[in-house]
Assembly symmetry: C2
């Protein structure tokens, strides 16, 4: 089964938006093993839209068209479809009622062009659009099946989810279902991870094993097809975690801060921070999560040496003797934060974000302190590459990594 995706809209050819609709449709259909051979974009011009539909009809079995179903003059998908599929437009009554009802409810005058959105091809199977006005349409012609969807991503996605995936899988018996799971690791480099799984990767067939480097973490995507893909994935996951389970913090869309939050909740522990170069970025990532109040008291952000004394109560002597970018300062920041915030675990960040040096240290030098319960504070020294933004992000991610491994014992 040969498929293609056509997007209709001049805004795409002007570069105002990227064709993310084609990406989304392709990625989702890839799970079913569908073969998409072409993406194309054509502007709001009847001749060119007709040409691109004609070409698609020749070369593909299924053509998914997004866009050009709106109420204005330059929405031409319906007209082009009639020409190519030798059909005519009729008014779809349920849609017309929906449009009229909408205008009545909002006390607006319905203009004549709004009627256009209720027009469908006579031969079309009409798909109700729960997110907007213009319905989707499926037209089964002799050469090819055309599926017309609105260009607004939310509307396109809801129609794909509500009708199109089912239609395609049933009609074309797309059985080779593909399942995948993304295993997420932290504290291990991509090359070390690959080294440890070398033989598994060499033998991979089904599931396939694809290592992917992220920002501060590493992931492995397992993709299985055929019968019982879940079972194949589960078995491979077990083999992998036997070797590198220590670094695994969760699957799919989980973030390292969520993994840390889960552990804090499980262990009924609270956390707080004392931050210099990260400027509140750590505590912000904690408080961003729903349920933060059960694990988090708050944080102290002290960007200047003066604020470190005043806010975090780092003794002046430590700053004079060791500077604020020092293991000693990080240690003291963690100790004081635990006391001041009244938390079980505190974490501190001090270092040089750049772009210029500070206290004679180059950008990228960072100290992270952790004080957990009654144990003495621990400090680690790190070097991070990159821009000011990257150094600050990597510092915070490293903080979550250290906390995860401390809590996950």
């Amino acid at each position: 089964m040969r498929m293609e995706v056509i997007a209709v809209g001049t805004e795409l050819l002007l570069g105002q938006i990227a064709n993310t609709n084609a990406q989304w449709i392709s990625r989702e259909l890839a799970h079913y093993g569908a073969n998409i051979y072409h993406h194309s974009v054509v502007g709001d011009n009847l001749t060119r839209v007709v040409e691109s539909f004609e070409q698609a009809k020749q070369r593909s079995d299924v053509v998914i068209v997004t866009g050009g179903l709106g109420p204005t003059e330059d929405d031409l998908t319906r007209e082009a479809a009639c020409e190519v599929l030798q059909d005519e437009l009729i008014e779809h009554e349920p849609t017309m009622n929906k449009i009229a009802h909408f205008y009545k409810k909002n006390d607006h005058q319905m203009t004549e062009n709004n009627r256009k959105q209720s027009h469908v091809l006579k031969k079309a199977k009409v798909l109700e659009n729960s997110e907007g006005m213009a319905p989707g349409q499926i037209v089964e012609a002799n050469d090819a099946t055309f599926i017309f969807l609105p260009g607004v991503p939310a509307e396109m996605k809801s129609l794909m989810n509500d009708f199109v995936f089912t239609y395609l899988t049933e009609k074309y018996q797309l059985e080779t279902k593909i399942k995948s799971e993304m295993l997420r690791f932290i504290g291990i480099g991509e090359s070390t991870l690959e080294e440890k799984l070398k033989d598994l990767i060499a033998q991979q067939t089904n599931p396939t094993i694809a290592p992917l480097a992220g920002e501060g973490d590493v992931a492995i995507r397992l993709t299985a097809s055929g019968k019982h893909p879940e079972r194949k994935i589960a078995n491979m996951k077990t083999s992998i975690l036997e070797r590198v389970g220590h670094y695994y913090f969760g699957s799919d869309s989980i973030t390292i801060e969520e993994a840390v939050q889960d552990l804090l909740v499980q262990k009924s522990l609270t956390i707080g921070s004392a931050e210099s170069l990260t400027g509140g970025k750590f505590i912000e990532r904690v408080i961003r999560l729903t349920g933060a109040s059960s694990i988090c008291q708050g944080g102290l952000v002290a960007y200047t040496p003066d604020a470190k004394q005043r806010v975090i109560q780092v003794p002046e002597e430590i700053i004079t003797r060791h500077g604020t970018i020092s293991s000693e300062c990080a240690e003291e920041m963690a100790i004081q934060a635990q006391k001041l915030l009244h938390v079980d675990i505190s974490i501190s960040f001090t270092g040089v974000a750049g772009p210029s040096s500070s206290e004679g240290h180059e950008p990228g030098l960072v100290y992270i302190g952790i004080k957990a319960n009654d144990a003495p504070a621990e400090v680690i020294q790190c070097y991070f590459d990159g821009s000011r933004d990257k150094i600050r992000q990597r510092t915070v991610t490293k903080g979550f990594e250290l906390l995860f491994h401390k809590l996950n014992l």
Copy 2:
């Protein structure tokens, strides 16, 4: 002059990435008034790449091709180009030297397939790639000019900037230069802004005036073409700012936090925050900026009532009597933060981010306090719609808006 953009790469048809190259090229060329009629994506399959080049040769004057110039077996753009343009490949010596040098420097063995990246069409004008290995190529055939560029966005962009824009503007006398400026406003709604500029918008021709709603701010894009577009924009900008200049905080890519930072620097003032629901997001957006140390001491993040007493020293009595989500608590937070952080201006945030209610208040209720120098603290009450994330973002943006208008007198 009819143009089109073809992207070669199966990763696009699998939906692993969106075709942002076509978007970028189109947006940049739109400034020169170029007409792009088609975007298409084709996978790494020789027959289909040849077909798409053939079609483009028929219908377009200029064809920009991205991707398929790498070293591996499935990089087929060169081979397809030879077939369609009846040409042959030769080794480009400077590129070959560059590749060999790279491998030598990094002490790696160069594999035979790396040689492939130095192959170019005999008729091609070769464009040196300052960001990577494979050079760009321009081939002027009878029917159409083909421009071949690597698919890696940074390499594609550098070749466009270094050679292709100049080549196209010279060859096709693309004179109708378009200039645009984005005027950014805060503290005024999109509809009020439109109302105040109604007659200007009604008369618009050149420059055009397009209002755009953003997240917390509103922008107007002025786009002028023809001779002296800068002058046309400057004149219209003056007319617009005469009416709504109070809300204008800068142009193009400036953010509201940068505008606030500029004002603080100008006035030699320092700032600090006391944050509850925003969790450090305000101070993080200040410290993120280069040069933060000259304007910012730090911040206090207190998420729980206990932390508000302990860290920000809000008197227990205020919390018992008014709750933490109150004008009184916001006021006290601002007052204490100014003292504790030793800053000229302090700002406080307390409210309900959701998803559940807190102290009997619905998500979205927020108090923002500001204490500037010796003036009494001011508190404003706001309601924000949306998810936890949105409420927290809107709160912080509102804070910057209040500071901007306070400082910009």
